[in-house]
């Protein structure tokens, strides 16, 4: 069970001067674990720890989801010369909470002729996939649900499973708009999965590991986007584009293009099931941004240049959790800007962009990166 809290023995061996030592969440989890062991049997300890982690992630999921909905509305209002939500609480921060309560109490409209089992299952698949990915992300030193040694591989593999939920939703609703939206979404996510994977693979070559904690640790002397020269920058840009497409957000929101398909695959959903899809979209955006932050921008690692100098020490005063969320929310803001400034692409143009431009560039980029790493030209 201890491993499930992400113990990074490798890191704790490298203690330095007091300002260099980030707070290691491993010690906290270790203490909790030891305390529980004293109080109960190993089986119940494991159960209790699982419940605690589960509740923490549920809370985290809800808070991040609600905050992102609020942020989206504020960012969009800012771009569109509006005020956005401003009535409930200071700056309207409780608006999304109120919206959630409203959605909870709304009627779940049963759809005649729908495949009820799949119809009800679909939102949960999307949510479960979200949780599975969230578990693998390092939020700070030692703040990990699981630290798999194939972290990136796991993230890519699991995150593309959300397409199953979307396809199920579209198919089981027995609605033509939904089916069209689901088919679009299927084609889109499957295609862009390639670019996401290859862009991340570019960095894996540079990092030499797929374990997320090692990748973050590898950026102690500089983020990979700076270390990897131009290929890393190209990979980053491709990742952001493909990641936006994978989350079905504008300008790639064809799956729910409201001017064509009213709401796409979740047209027939109501109440909290609709809210699940809605939240999942935002959490997906958070996942894409946090993976990008972890892989390219150092995750929780502060801005470092070189091995050890004054600049690095000043940066270290800012706690890693803040670094992580600052980077993630910056990327989320960029993704939001895309949505509110660009018109939507057409489905064939979307696939053209992926298969004719992003994928070839990506493959060449991968080769260049491999060559750079082979020659040792990176920092």
């Amino acid at each position: 069970m201890l491993t499930s809290f992400g113990i990074i023995n490798y890191l704790s061996a490298q203690s330095g001067p007091w300002w260099r030592v980030f707070y290691d969440f491993t010690s906290l989890t270790k203490n909790i674990d030891a305390g529980l062991h004293n109080a109960m049997s190993p089986f119940w300890t494991t159960v209790t720890e699982m419940v605690i982690v589960g509740i923490l992630f549920l809370l985290f999921y809800a808070v991040i989801g609600l905050f992102l909905v609020y942020a989206e509305r504020k960012v969009c209002a800012f771009i569109q010369n509006r005020l956005g939500p401003n009535r409930l609480g200071p700056f309207g921060i409780f608006q999304t909470v109120a919206d959630l309560i409203k959605l909870l109490f709304k009627e779940l409209i049963p759809i005649k002729n729908a495949d009820h089992f799949l119809f009800n299952l679909a939102p949960y698949i999307v949510i479960i996939v979200n949780f599975m990915v969230l578990a693998a992300i390092p939020y700070a030193l030692g703040l990990h649900a699981v630290d798999l040694n194939i972290g990136i591989f796991y993230v890519i593999a699991v995150s593309s499973m959300s397409v199953i939920g979307v396809l199920l939703a579209g198919w089981s609703s027995n609605s033509k708009y939904s089916l069209l939206g689901a088919m679009r979404s299927g084609a889109q996510i499957v295609s862009y999965e390639l670019s996401v994977g290859l862009a991340l693979a570019t960095v894996v070559i540079l990092a030499g590991s797929m374990q997320l904690s090692v990748i973050v640790e590898g950026q102690r002397t500089g983020w990979f986007i700076f270390k990897g020269h131009i290929p890393a920058v190209i990979a980053f840009v491709i990742y952001i584009i493909a990641g936006t497409a994978e989350t079905n957000r504008g300008p790639f929101d064809l799956a729910e293009a409201e001017s064509e398909l009213t709401a796409g695959y979740h047209t027939e959903y109501s109440g909290i099931k609709f809210a699940f899809f809605y939240l999942a979209e935002f959490i997906n955006m958070f996942i894409v941004a946090s993976i990008a932050a972890t892989i390219f921008l150092g995750g929780w690692m502060p801005l470092h240049f070189g091995a050890d100098n004054g600049f690095n020490r000043i940066m270290d005063f800012i706690p890693p959790v803040i670094w992580f969320f600052a980077k993630t929310f910056f990327l989320i803001w960029v993704i939001m800007l895309f949505k509110w400034t660009f018109p939507r692409l057409r489905i064939d143009q979307l696939l053209t962009l992926e298969w004719k431009y992003l994928l070839p560039i990506n493959i060449v980029n991968l080769l260049i990166m491999a060559f750079i790493v082979l020659m040792g030209w990176h920092f």
Binding site: N81, L180, S259, W340, L345
Partner: protein, 374 residues
Amino acid sequence: MEEKVKDIDTDEQQEYIINIGPQHPSTHGVMRLVVSLKGETVKNVEPHLGYIHRGIEKMCESLTYQQIIHLTDRMDYLAAHMNNEVVCLAVEKALEIEIPDRVKVIRTLMSELTRIQSHELFWASYGMDLGGQTCYFYGLRDREMVLDIFEETTGGRMIVSYNCPGGVMYDLHPNFQKRVKEFLKHFRKVLPEYDDILTNNVIFHERTVGIGPLSLNEAISYGITGPSGRASGFSCDVRKHEPYSAYDRVKFNEVLYAEGDAFHRYLARVEEMRESMNIIDQLIDNIPEGPYAVKMKPVIRLPEGEYYQRVETPRGELGVFIISDGNKTPYRVHFRTPNFANLSVLNHLVKGFKIADLISIFGSLDFVIPDIDR
């Protein structure tokens, strides 16, 4: 058994029919398009009309001419002023009344403001149809200023009912000139922003250039007028060919393109906003003094005969055909509405394009559904 399998594979069987509308975000009103798809490719579109058919032509037969004007507002609600104007012009022509200069200039100014606000809403909603929601808010923000000007003078924002036979209902508000100049100054500044966010956007080009091309001959044959027709090179501006009100004393260009695709239909409208601003510029400082209406009899009886009058609305040529039998109510009124004629080309344009292009083409023709149904 084998025959059955074969049957299913034919194109006829693979048609996937979806209903766009009557309640749909991009039909801009209550209209139903029955779309036959193969994959995402549109094979056939059939508009089903009548969801807001109010029988305006029938109602007109039992109303006096003054009353008809208030009904015409409800046809093309974005060009309410022009709809009023066309009836007034027809009545004035029938009665052979010479209307004062001031009225002519006021009508022209109001028409051009109407044109600008209508094209602004087109710009806004077209951007939204293509997924750029920010456009909608930018467009409506600036349109609000024009509506405020309308409200000040006429009391109405969209449904202005400002014209009456022989002139206009009330004189201009003292603030009118100042407000219009403020608006022009503001709008000249923000129009380049419109270009930045939509006209010069790569994705927007991808979505519109070469989509739904319409040749000149087709445009004439299908009776496509207004900016949609002019984008195909069809010189059909009534303001040029048959000047009414004060259009004979202003200089402006008829915006003409040859390509006729969705992008140029869009571009024609954006350029028309610039031309409209030029027209307002020429008139706003020299509104002649004088009465704002001719004294008319309370009951207007048109002499027996047939009268046809057309004006240029933001969507094309609006014609009114009045048959009078000398009574206070017309014997028959027929409106040749631009949207109704423009609708006939929709099926021809979208065949073979994707369903997303259907929205793009439908948007670029700038339909106002009550104008089709009447």
